[in-house]
Symmetry: C2
């Protein structure tokens, strides 16, 4: 699976997006609030990158959300690494079950709605060589 | 600039590479020891990704290297985010100077040799919205 995006915990979407736009030439492709996850997110990528691999900025909207707790414990910075499970309806569910069967159990029992209308699921860093891994697709 | 790779601090190249190969279908494209940085590195990517955006695994070879100190302080996990400054001879130097002029000073005064025969330079997270950013090219 190709890398879909790198999730980065930030204090302010606007300030962080300005860094990636001004210094690295990325373009913002999407922004939304994911209320269930208590974050606002913005996706930025290089328009010349055929894969569209993105930076996903994550700004907490509440101190009791997972990203706010991550920032409180570890500071700002990279939060998760997301891989593209494909565009089919059951793509994330299939990939999730393959990983479970191979010894990497997901954090959730089933895919859940994520940003950009996709399905997502996450895997604990202890099963992923130290990285919080996300599958995204559908 | 497109994302060239995501650097991940690991305990063991072999164990971490096995995770990305087995569960996410990545293929190892390069491995070397970067003695000056006191790490062994392995690059893995999805052969179907036209951009070739990679995971760079970093295994410390000495407890006094920067990656060993990162692991001691923060644990395993994502370490830096690298952007592709292009293949020309002065590509990293030019991009570095543009970033310096724009208010993001590099950690080094000039590009230095990195893995895969490339030139690299790094920027402190305090200038990059919380992320250790690398430029790679040449």
């Amino acid at each position: 699976m190709k890398i879909d995006h790198v999730g980065v915990a930030v204090r302010s979407l606007d300030e962080a997006a300005a860094f990636y736009r001004r210094h690295l030439g990325l373009v913002e492709t999407h922004r939304e609030e994911v209320a269930a996850q208590k974050v606002k997110v913005a996706f930025l990528s290089d328009p010349a990158d055929p894969s569209g691999t993105s930076v996903e900025l994550l700004e907490p909207t509440s101190p009791d959300g997972a990203v706010a707790k991550f920032i409180a414990a570890r500071g700002l910075g990279m939060h998760h690494l997301a891989f593209d499970a494909g565009r089919g309806a059951g793509s994330v569910a299939s990939a999730m079950e393959r990983m479970r069967a191979g010894g990497a159990p997901p954090l959730e029992n089933a895919p859940r709605p994520g940003a950009r209308g996709h399905q997502v699921c996450f895997f604990h860093p202890k099963h992923c060589a130290g990285v919080l891994v996300e599958l995204v697709g559908g």
